[in-house]
């Protein structure tokens, strides 16, 4: 799968950031920048990992920061971790206990719905 970071604005002013393929230290700064700029104007942010085949702790750190920043700005936030997400994505979230701390949903659609500001 081609690696990529896409951001799309959907209904209600919510930005959906899709991470395709593998992400690690070599793309973490890009991911972080795209998140920061999305949060400048979006009412909510959904991060879609359903097409993500790999993430490491450098990316996980960016996701945690994203959730904190969204909360600070009163923006909604959710992450989609689906059956189609890579084994390693599930494994890292379980090992670190972040499956319980990050606002995860099991599909892109559910994450977008959950990213509407409260």
């Amino acid at each position: 799968m081609e690696n990529g970071i896409d951001v799309e604005r959907v209904a209600g002013g919510i930005d959906v950031l899709t991470l395709r393929g593998e992400h690690d230290l070599s793309t973490a700064t890009d991911v972080s920048r795209r998140i920061e700029s999305a949060l400048e104007s979006a009412t909510g942010l959904a991060i879609d990992l359903s097409e993500t085949t790999f993430i490491d702790s450098a990316v996980l750190r960016v996701l945690i920061t994203a959730q904190e920043r969204a909360a600070e700005r009163g923006a909604g936030f959710a992450i989609a971790v689906a059956d189609s997400s890579g084994h390693g994505v599930h494994r890292l979230l379980t090992l670190t206990g972040l499956d319980a701390k990050l606002a995860t949903r099991s599909s892109r659609e559910d994450a977008i719905a959950a990213a509407a500001p409260a």
């Binding site: 070599s26 790999f54 702790s57 996980l60 090992l95």
Partner: protein, 135 residues
């Protein structure tokens, strides 16, 4: 007696773009063996964390350096060594990382040995089971 059937050595510059290259090379090695996707994912994660640590911590202030990764298929397992020639293990509280790299490696690998090789730097030697779920 142990039979070494496969051995890969990779040298990368100690910088972020090298990290996925190592992972891809390892997957290539493992794809020729009868290993489950779960085990491959686990090994990819642990080795990525070790390489990331070498990139982030071994050479402070962006100093240039190299990282050498050796993978060998030994008996029923895989042994992967990640070695840098940087400043040696540090233990500073002000790390830019999440702090779960070493624990993730230790949780996934059957064993991990962290040593200070002659010539300086840090060597991390991980052993993985290849049959069934890793760890």
């Amino acid at each position: 007696m142990v039979t070494v059937s496969e051995r890969v050595e990779i040298e990368i510059a100690a910088a972020a773009p090298g990290v996925p290259l190592v992972r891809h090379a390892l997957r290539g090695l493992l794809s020729g063996l009868d290993v489950s996707d779960e085990v491959i994912a686990d090994i990819a994660l642990a080795v990525t964390e070790a390489c990331t640590n070498a990139v982030v911590h071994a050479y402070p202030n962006g100093a240039a350096g190299t990282i050498t990764i050796t993978a060998s298929h030994v008996g029923g397992g895989l042994s992967v060594t990640v070695r840098d020639r940087g400043r040696g293990m540090s233990a500073r509280v002000d790390t830019p990382g999440l702090g779960v790299g070493l624990p993730v490696i230790a949780a996934i690998a059957q064993s991990v040995e962290i040593g200070s090789p002659d010539g300086g730097g840090t060597e991390m030697r991980m052993r993985f089971a290849l049959d069934g779920p890793a760890g």
